[in-house]
């Protein structure tokens, strides 16, 4: 089975934040509830750019507050090509 984009992104986020996938709920605030920081956000952003061959502009970083929002952002960026 091909992993869904949701599973892939969750895996990236969990790896960077050093948590288990099961410990991160999709709507949890990554900084306030999961324990991420801005450095981790940068690492997540860089990993997403590499994996999906997309460019995420700097100003979008502050929108990356939950896994669901990240998924949405990646899907939008992929549609833009």
């Amino acid at each position: 089975m091909v992993p869904s984009i949701k599973d892939e992104i969750l895996e990236i986020v969990a790896t960077v934040i050093e948590k288990e996938v099961g410990d991160i709920s999709l709507d949890a605030h990554l900084v306030q509830e999961v324990g991420a920081d801005s450095m981790m956000a940068l690492e997540i952003l860089a990993a997403l750019e590499k994996k999906y061959h997309i460019v995420i502009p700097e100003e979008r970083l502050k929108e990356m507050t939950t896994v669901n929002k990240i998924i949405q952002m990646v899907e939008t960026a992929r549609k833009r090509g």
């Binding site: 920081d37 801005s38 940068l42």
Partner: protein
């Protein structure tokens, strides 16, 4: 574009005895290659280690970070103090007096307040170290 020492000083704030790169052979937002000539007269060799001079890995990290800063400045010339916020490094070979380090920095992601860069160090054919490092300004809390 080659940068001599006075050009480097315009880009990064470090000074003697903590300016750890001597010349930049290539500088663009895609790649920076810096040179560090390691001489027997380096102060740190007096104590690291007496009778057995080896360049401290922490200072190799510093030279790599300064090269990373030059890379960041290729895209964002604004003069804001940047701090080292993350280092993931591996060392392969020790550095001795007489070695010339070629330090190559390439971007993973460059942003105005925070940049993530990949850096490798060679002495001749020998691979000395590689690292991923991030630098950030104090106001980089963006999330």
């Amino acid at each position: 574009m080659v940068l001599e020492i006075e050009d480097i000083k315009k880009l990064i704030p470090q000074r003697f005895p903590f300016l750890m790169i001597d010349r930049v052979l290539e500088a663009s937002p895609e790649k920076v290659i810096a040179i560090k000539n390691v001489t027997a007269s380096e102060q740190f060799f007096k104590g690291h280690f007496p009778g057995q001079p080896i360049m401290p890995g922490a200072l190799i990290i510093e030279a790599m970070a300064q090269t990373g800063l030059v890379l960041h400045r290729q895209k964002f010339p604004i003069d804001k103090l940047l701090f080292l916020v993350s280092v993931k490094a591996r060392f392969f070979e020790p550095v001795f007096p007489g070695d010339q380090l070629a330090i190559e920095a390439t971007p993973i992601k460059l942003m105005s307040k925070m940049s993530l860069v990949k850096i490798t160090v060679h002495a001749g054919d020998k691979k000395i170290a590689e690292a991923e490092m991030a630098v950030a300004s104090k106001d980089a809390k963006t999330v």
